[in-house]
């Protein structure tokens, strides 16, 4: 379909924002219509994404497809350049799936202060930002979509969040904005250092377009490193994450964990590495070091948590450490592992946040010490929690393993320019991280799900899984299992694209 080839991607990006506009037209009191419109538009976006998935030519996964390159802001030579390759495609589909599931999940229980109209509109706006970031091939376009995400999430946390929401929202906003500012600076530097001046990611990735000394390249990379690293979040820029997650409403946490964090790691793969390969080689040991510190550090911090949601938030720090380790190796193995890790973490941690939200709704608390006997009170919920925890600790046969193991594997033999000894140390440290991961997840599971029902809840009626929850969770659970059994589903897409990214590193 020629029409779909040229318009499909644009449709996927802007359908949600059209949906947001449509919701704003609906009267405030008519909640049913608002929900229906949101469902319709996220559903349509997902349908388009599935269409993209189906229409994608897997034999050419290394190059851009569904490419559109139209003039946009001529003055600065910034163009409306979008396209998909094997790395962005799975993430785009993930965003579409997660948003739809979030709409379904919040069907009957919008967090206080209710107001579905604003909530859904923000969610749709968020979706445009996420999908746009994964599709953008122009730095300015990329930056705009990257920033579009910020505001809805700020409001989601700040309005629908927990008791300490204002602090968390502002912290989230300032942290990310700080990073973005430096990132924008780097983008501008790239523009002025390129000949001819351009913001086009594809053009900038060509050798010979950028003329500058090593020091300047390294500085520019540093700016992007901060911008993306804060979003990931990498140790030691991670402290906004636990607060944001703890305070955010369930759906906000899910989107934050499942997709937003990936914008940072995706930025490294899409922008930082291809455009500044030399600087990437200089920075890779730093990234690797921070990544493995993050793995151990996040895991240890998890063990000290008493709040379930905060625990899951810190586990994200650890898991994103594996993703960053994969990226830091600058090998095709590593990039594949990173993208797989992103998708797997999206599914699994998204699922864990859903569960944490549902538990809070049922018990009114997330204190691990007060919970217990979930397997007894609500067996299905308990089993799903167990399944997801197992997936999260990297059990083979489930998706998490394919993010973790190949990342550790890739560290054995990093790109030619990097120190093997260093990365083997990273490998060992990361592998120890898997034990700690098992430790905190099972510790949490034992206290929440096993044991007798505490006296506090003995008479309480703990509802087992609701219908909207089933609908929202089943696709995630199936995804975790299917990707775990057929990792080729993802690797098939990412592998050719990863080889393109790492060709310059001799990978």
């Amino acid at each position: 379909m020629e029409w779909f080839d040229s318009w499909g991607l644009t449709l996927a990006i802007f359908l949600p924002v059209a949906g947001a506009a449509a919701i704003l037209v609906v009267p405030r009191a008519d909640e049913a219509t608002q929900k229906l419109v949101a469902l319709l538009f996220t559903g349509a976006t997902l349908a388009v994404s599935i269409g993209l998935l189906a229409d994608f030519d897997y034999d050419r996964a290394s190059g851009l497809q569904f490419e559109v390159n139209k003039s946009w802001i001529d003055v600065i030579n910034s163009r409306y350049h979008i396209g998909l390759d094997g790395i962005s495609l799975p993430l785009l589909v993930l965003s579409a799936v997660v948003t739809l599931l979030c709409v379904v999940y919040s069907w009957d229980h919008f967090p206080e202060p209710h107001n579905p109209k604003a909530f859904l509109a923000l969610m749709l706006l968020l979706e445009t930002g996420m999908i746009g970031t994964f599709a953008a091939q122009d730095l300015i376009l990329f930056f705009i979509f990257f920033e579009v995400v910020l505001l809805p999430m700020y409001f989601m946390i700040g309005v629908w969040g927990g008791p300490n929401r204002e602090y968390a929202a502002i912290k989230f906003f300032l942290f990310t904005l700080f990073g973005s500012a430096l990132m924008l600076l780097s983008f501008l530097a790239l523009y002025f250092k390129s000949d001819p001046h351009t913001f086009d990611i594809v053009a900038l990735s060509q050798p010979g377009v950028l003329e500058m000394s090593k020091g300047v390249g390294s500085l520019i990379f540093a700016g992007m490193f901060l911008g993306f690293g804060i979003k990931v979040p990498m140790f030691p820029f991670h402290t906004w994450l636990p607060d944001a997650h703890t305070e955010a409403p369930t759906v906000g946490s899910v989107i934050l964990a499942a997709v937003l964090l990936k914008l940072g790691t995706y930025g490294f793969i899409r922008v930082a590495l291809p455009i500044l390969p030399d600087a990437a080689e200089d920075w890779a040991p730093v990234i690797g070091t921070l990544a493995v510190i993050g793995i151990i550090y996040g895991a240890l911090a998890c063990l000290a948590q008493t709040d379930m949601k905060r625990l899951i938030a810190f586990s994200s720090v650890a898991h994103m450490g594996f993703v960053m380790l994969g990226i830091a190796t600058l090998t095709d193995f590593g990039i594949n592992a990173a993208v797989m890790g992103m998708v797997a973490h999206g599914l699994i941690t998204g699922m864990l946040f859903f569960l944490a939200g549902s538990l809070q709704e049922r018990y009114g608390t997330r204190e691990i010490a007060r919970l217990g006997g979930l397997l007894k009170s609500a067996p299905r919920l308990g089993w799903i929690l167990g399944f997801t925890a197992m997936a999260s600790l990297g059990l083979p046969g489930l998706a998490g393993f394919w993010g973790e193991f190949p990342a550790i594997l890739s560290a054995y033999q990093p790109a030619a320019a990097l120190s093997e000894v260093w990365f083997r140390v990273f490998m060992v440290v990361a592998a120890i991280g898997t034990v700690l991961a098992a430790g905190y997840l099972l510790y949490m599971y034992q206290r929440v799900a096993m044991g007798a029902v505490p006296a506090e809840w003995e008479d309480a009626h703990i509802h087992d899984v609701h219908t909207p929850e089933w609908i929202a969770w089943t696709p995630l659970l199936i995804g975790i299992l299917v990707i775990g059994i057929f990792p080729a589903l993802i690797f098939e897409m990412t592998d050719p694209a990863a080889q393109v990214v790492t060709k310059v590193f001799g990978g």
Binding site: C302, M390, G397, V435, A438, M450, A488
Partner: protein, 687 residues
């Protein structure tokens, strides 16, 4: 994963390739059809797992029938495979690409040879009997369906582990059996000790798994593939640097120690007895715990070259096994819980197997694995039967005299005990004897001595167990009774191989050597097989009998000097043993609690106070100092001051001007006319 094998092998049958060696194609042609369908073995129970999980509750027997059917099928297939293999089938090597990553194709496939077929037989036989036994033992359990689902998943994972032709697929099976073990140890999770035991088992083996993963990665990059046969070939033909090989072997050994409960990672296995007894028989005696032994046997090239086993003396593998077999046997003496005695006995026997591999006695190790599976499963199931009769206790202090009440259990238990103690002609004798022989011939004096002492201790503590349980007066409450047929029939079935199976490698028959051998194509590597040594056999028999005699003297006739335990050196040793060498304290209170406690809390403290402190500090500083300065001094005084001044000036001018606006019409008119006049005058003047 299992479905992948099936799907790929079915759909892409014509792409099935032999991934190693040139002889492969011939082998494929000559291999039996039954063996070629080895992928069915893990697949069938895997399907059964999902079937039980989703439909089990609705069935009349709550899903047990599906599990029984699946395991029955695998058992039949295993028996058929065994016949086909004995009948002279070639090795089956089939694989297909699972996924491509980077420059490498990662395969999924099956490798069926003698070792695999032997494991098929062991796993499916014990699993099938445990399935039957559990029908009675877990009758009415609230999670009966989940139990059977977990059994199916376990069987599938274990069979996948043994059929795998590459390390990655083996790791998948390895981890999955670990999870099943976790689920089943914690089957009665309402009580915290049970879930604690499950956690301890999972985490301890997970520590070992780090080694396994890193070892597999090392070998992968050394050889360029996960394929086990290719790894063995490379290792045995000097394709890998010795240093690298040694590293890989040490790393893998860590994994082996975790899974097969070798010192010092053996601490989880006794606790794992918290699970239902049939599970202990299946997972923690016959199958899962021997996965480590299987791994060493499977990748023997790496260990053999890595540890230079042919040079004799001592090596890490043999030492691990030797130490384990001794310390675990010692611990078995101080246990009151019959299952814990058996658990330590299992650890000790696993030590024998590892030690055997360490001394180069490959066949002996595998043979011991084979015989041990039967008699140890028998003993565990027997212990379960005893507990079933004696009010669900495993404490031997509340038993005694059960010989009269439950004869079938008693006799089968005796068979298991004698087999374990190594008295001819029962199964355990032949395999243990081969191990000692291997140690002697391989010039491993330390292992020979440790092994002999271990043999004495084994006979002795098993004698103690039998006397405490079945002889004397009944010390519990209620009247014990014989267990029903669903329990005793599996015991009797298992008693047959415990009695006889050892004979297949008896002198003059020696079939096992031919059937199960370590063979790597295209490499000249030969493990020496030693002929039966009557002298050594006699000595080991005497040792075992002596062990029984001591046990009889102390526990049956109770002739031990009174108050022996109270005397100082004995007392100290006893306490030391009761505290399990304080290893558990170090692991649980020291390492685990230390990590989860102070270290984790310290990290979190750093997070909250240092890192977040910096962030908040920047925020507060901005708020307290930078912001006031900016606002009060810069903004209010300088910038705003300037604007204030401009505004003030404007206001002053306005004040002047507003006086002109009097509101008096005539004054406006005056201005108007004056202006007209002035304008007119100017016009007149200019023109």
């Amino acid at each position: 994963m299992l479905a992948t094998i099936a799907q790929s092998l079915l759909a892409e049958g014509e792409h099935v390739v032999d991934s190693v060696g040139e002889g492969g194609h011939e082998a494929l042609e000559a291999a039996s059809w039954i063996l070629q369908q080895g992928w069915l073995m893990p697949l069938v129970p895997a399907v059964s797992f999902f079937a039980i999980l989703f439909f089990g509750k609705r069935l009349p027997r709550q899903g047990a029938e599906i599990g029984l059917a699946a395991v029955g099928f695998t058992f039949l297939w295993a028996v058929l495979s065994a016949f086909e293999w004995i009948g002279g089938s070639a090795v089956v090597e089939r694989s297909t690409t699972w996924f491509s990553n980077g420059r490498f194709d990662i395969d999924v496939g099956i490798h069926v040879d003698g070792l695999t077929v032997m494991m098929f037989v062991v796993v499916t036989t014990v699993s099938a009997l445990v399935h039957v036994y559990s029908l009675e033992y877990l009758r009415g359990d609230q999670r009966f369906t989940y139990y059977y689902a977990a059994l199916s998943l376990f069987t599938a994972s274990m069979l996948n582990l043994v059929v795998a032709d590459n390390l990655l697929q083996l790791i998948v099976g390895w981890e999955l059996v670990g999870v099943c073990s976790f689920m089943l140890i914690g089957h009665w999770w309402e009580e915290k000790p049970n879930s604690d035991a499950a956690l301890k088992a999972f985490l301890t083996t997970r520590v070992g798994d780090v080694g396994l993963m890193l070892g597999a990665i090392t070998l992968f990059f050394a050889v360029g593939t996960f394929n086990i046969e290719a790894i063995n070939q490379a290792a045995l033909s000097d394709g890998i640097r010795h240093g690298l090989l040694l590293t890989a072997a040490c790393l893998l050994l860590l994994g082996v120690a975790g899974k097969s409960a070798q010192f010092p990672l053996h601490i989880w296995l006794p606790d794992a007895m918290a699970g239902p007894t049939p599970v202990s028989a299946l997972i923690h005696a016959a199958t899962m715990v021997v996965a480590g032994v299987y791994l060493v046997a499977r990748t023997y090239g790496v260990f053999f070259e890595g540890f230079s086993i042919d040079s004799g003396g001592i090596n890490l593998l043999a030492l691990t096994g030797g130490v384990t077999l001794f310390i675990a046997a010692a611990l078995a003496f101080v246990q009151h819980d019959i299952k814990k005695v058996l658990a330590y006995s299992t650890v000790s026997q696993l030590g024998y197997m590892i030690a055997a591999l360490g001394v180069g006695a490959w066949t002996a190790a595998v043979f011991h694995l084979f015989t041990h599976a039967f008699f140890k499963a028998l003993l565990f199931l027997g212990a379960g039967s005893v507990s079933h009769a004696a009010h669900h206790t495993f404490d031997m202090r509340e038993m005694g005299g059960l010989r009269k009440y439950m004869p079938r259990t008693f006799w089968t238990f005796i068979i298991g005990t004698v087999a374990l103690a190594g008295i001819p002609p029962l199964a355990g004798f032949w395999s243990k004897d081969e191990i000692l022989l291997g140690a002697k011939e391989g010039d491993f004096g330390t292992i020979l001595i440790l092994g002999s002492i271990g043999a004495f201790m084994t006979a002795c503590y098993m004698g103690r167990t039998v006397f405490l349980t079945f002889f004397g007066e009944y010390r519990g409450h209620g009247t014990p009774h014989e267990s029903p047929g669903l329990i005793t029939v599996p015991l009797m079935i298992l008693a047959v191989p415990s009695l006889l199976i050892g004979l297949i490698n008896a002198p003059g028959i020696e079939k096992f050597n031919d059937w199960v051998a370590f063979h790597v194509p295209d490499v000249t590597f030969h493990l020496e097989h030693h002929d039966f040594d009557p002298g050594l056999a006699l000595i080991s028999t005497v040792i075992a009998v002596f062990g029984f005699a001591v046990a009889t003297w102390v526990y049956y006739w109770q002739k031990a000097p009174k108050g022996l335990l109270e005397r100082q050196p004995v007392r100290a040793v006893h306490t030391f043993l009761e505290q399990k060498y304080y290893l558990d304290h170090i692991a649980v209170s020291g390492i685990a609690a230390g990590t989860a406690g102070p270290i984790a809390r310290g990290t979190y403290w750093i997070n909250q106070h240092v890192i977040d402190g910096i962030v908040n500090g920047v925020g507060v500083a901005t708020n307290r100092f930078l912001a006031p300065f900016t606002y009060d001094v810069l903004d209010q005084e300088l910038v705003d001051g300037m604007y204030d001044d401009i505004a003030g000036a404007t206001s002053a001018v306005g004040g002047l001007l507003r006086k002109a606006q009097s509101g008096l019409i005539q004054r406006y008119a005056l201005v108007l006319f004056a202006a007209v006049g002035a304008g007119g005058a100017a016009l007149a003047y200019l023109t």
